[in-house]
Symmetry: C2
Subunit: 441 residues, 2 copies
């Protein structure tokens, strides 16, 4: 009899799991249960569709219905799962679905701030295509906007609204992009956003929202449109009710095969806890890349495979108003304050041109590298610049992943030609700076 | 008494050695003996100065005289070394120079083709600022050009002359860029160059040169200007005469500390043999990056340090008419024909867009990856595309350097955001393709 695979959620992790399961087993009955009315689309593309760079929200669809049909995957939309009954290997939704293996890729939802007025109709969040439609519609009649939360989505939405003609204020309870960069890089981001006309209020707690008003402790900001992007939380209610272990981070606990504590139930993507490649501690990271890679592992294992999901580094990148900001690993601040000394970062932030001084078009690359004081291993990197930051993040992710020391990095065999790279890449220059600092310790 | 360091050659390796020696010893007497009339400049920048992107050849100077003065390095120009007398620890040039340590960074010279007419005055090569001046002057009155040799410099000069209005024919005895790419990638390069109006003749041996004519076996090409870029050979005459061991590649034999067989004599840069990180065999690679890194090692060791020059990967990059072409390691052809089975390459060439399908501005990236059949380790990469090839070469160089398997590469924690990178980088897609091929073997 063909195996029955049920996948809850048709986002990046869910679709990857479905296709991986199909690749491993041509006969399995694979069903994806999706709440939304669209097939798999790129959530990360939503802010750019709002901005208008991408002509239509429908363009964001990555796996259209026919992909699922071609792969003989039963993709059911607009269906809400009510219950998982592990003892009966059944998922209850519009009907009962029996499974041999279940993959939970339920994703995450925007955090709802516990403040008065958060439910007012002009207070919006951005998670789905329908959310984006509401923002586009609302922006048409808006002259001013407040975006609450200066993380990836917050900044991308701020840029989109600014480009649509709104005066935008970005309000952040902590500091800009605090999860992925330190204060020194954060200041450079703020400077750039301010130059682009975004007003930034850091360390500003929103105390309430009224009709066209955002209330802070010491001031009130008028806003026709208010977007809350105060982080996400994993969707684990179904899993919890079914008896799955939830980790200390709030995500579903899984092993490296992405199995939960219950037999034949896997979890992947935003709703699952991952392990830090640097510290071994459980962390929650809602990134599309990790969802895609985990989906492949969970889907293959659900069909009887034995794939392992490697620990993660939290490699991330943002491009806003022409500036790229990237990060690998934890921030220095996090390692000092929260991580109780397992890793002891020694860091340097340098600025170095992307091209030789004599070749036109070079721009400054800011690079902060961190090495562990004891082992000299590269443990983190934060980069900022107007070109080629993303591929440099990838280079540094590999270096961290493979346990490279900062001294090895100074001698890496990087390429050079005046129109594209200098004799010493900024990465090597930054590594030299950290190496010199370590020599003096 | 302060140590006396003599450095023969003030190019990239020589200058790096001088500055590294100074850094290690504030009191040493450091003397650089340079044949040319300029301080250290970027040879790799010469074609772009000819093209006119860089306004003046003098812009190419990387370390002007005042740098050497500030560092109290005695930089003597227009001086020819006649002899090294190791027994007396003396270098004979315009005067006798005694040394405690000698660093030979004598560089390389263009290969002189053994054909009639090679000494005609309108037959030029490109190695020095003075060579570039001659080409610029000659190009002003030229309508047609033949460039002999389709390697890095040949292609860059062809582009420069084309942009100055010449009809350019590129004649190559073997095939385009055969040292660093395989025929499949070579064909893509030819297609691009042809689209840009460069005429390419592969497998065409030049049999002679006459006044304004290049003679091939079966045809004659008229040319107002003829540039020969048929590779370089290391400058080892002085070293040989002094009793230094010359390796089978024709370069000076050195150990990992860059010491020659004679006490207190080091060699670095184009004139020295290097070790392949992939095969352990001695190879000759005339790259500025290796010269810079080796200079640092030789200079530090000349002063009593103990640095090691790591083996090399031959990471290289070219940008021509907007297209970047990069390579790490040997070609598949080389590994099959010359390397007698130590590494057994399994390769795939794929094409994948640089950005998600829905985001405007993505371009095709062509990636060929090679894994060793037995170990599955990544052993080589060749890339071609209109954006971000150089930093991808650096990522792949690290992957090769750290012995990554192709399977590890498929799961690397790369970053993603629609304006700069897709969920799966083309590198990961290529790794998946090689991994699937290996599974079937």
């Amino acid at each position: 009899m063909p195996k029955k695979i049920i996948i809850i959620g048709g986002g990046t992790a869910g679709a990857s799991a479905a296709f991986a399961a199909r690749k491993a087993d041509r006969k399995a009955e694979i069903t994806v249960l999706e709440q939304e009315s669209y097939p798999t689309y790129s959530r990360c593309g939503l802010p750019f569709a709002i901005k208008g760079i991408i002509p239509s929200l429908e363009n964001l669809i990555v796996f259209p219905d026919k992909f699922f049909r071609q792969q003989k995957i039963n993709h059911i939309k607009e269906v809400t799962v009510k219950k998982i009954i592990p003892d009966k290997k059944t998922v209850v939704a519009d009907q009962d679905y029996n499974y041999d293996s279940l993959v939970i890729t339920a994703g995450s939802s925007p955090v709802k701030l516990p403040i008065p007025g958060i439910d007012l109709p002009h207070v919006l969040t951005l998670r789905t295509i329908n959310d984006a439609k509401k923002i586009v519609e609302s922006a048409q009649s808006s002259k001013s906007a407040v975006v609450i939360g200066a993380s990836f989505i917050g900044i991308e939405v701020a840029e989109a609204l600014k480009s649509k003609g709104c005066e935008v204020t970005l309000v952040e309870a902590a500091r800009t992009m605090w999860r992925v960069v330190d204060e020194d890089i954060g200041r450079l981001i703020n400077q750039h956003l301010t130059e682009q006309g975004i007003k930034i209020l850091e360390k500003s707690l929103v105390t309430g929202i009224e009709e066209k008003k955002v209330l802070l402790k010491d001031q009130t900001i008028e806003a026709d449109i208010i977007i809350v992007s105060a982080g996400v939380k994993p969707n684990v209610t179904l899993a919890k009710e079914a008896g799955l272990d939830i980790g200390q981070t709030g995500g579903i606990k899984v092993n490296e095969r992405l199995e939960s504590n219950l037999k034949d139930i896997y979890a992947a993507g935003d709703c699952a806890e991952v392990v830090s490649a640097l510290t071994g501690e459980p962390i929650l990271i809602g990134l599309g890349t990790i969802a895609a890679r985990q989906g492949v592992v969970a889907g293959a294992n659900a069909i009887g495979g034995d794939k392992k999901a490697p620990p993660v580094l939290n490699s991330s990148i943002l491009k806003t108003f022409g500036l790229e900001i990237g990060s690998v690993g934890f921030t220095e601040q996090y390692l000092r304050e929260k991580q109780s000394g397992k890793l002891d970062p020694v860091s340097m932030l340098i600025k170095y041109p992307s091209l030789p001084h004599y070749y036109p078009g070079g721009v400054d690359i800011h690079i902060k590298l961190m090495a562990d004081k004891k082992t000299h291993r590269l443990i983190g990197a934060q980069l900022l610049g107007k070109t080629s930051i993303a591929p440099r993040i990838n280079t540094l992710a590999l270096a961290v992943e493979k346990g490279m020391t900062i001294e090895e990095l100074t001698q890496s065999d990087f390429c050079y030609s005046p129109p594209v790279a200098d004799v010493w890449d900024p990465i090597a220059i930054a590594a030299q700076a950290v190496s010199r600092k370590l020599e003096k310790i």
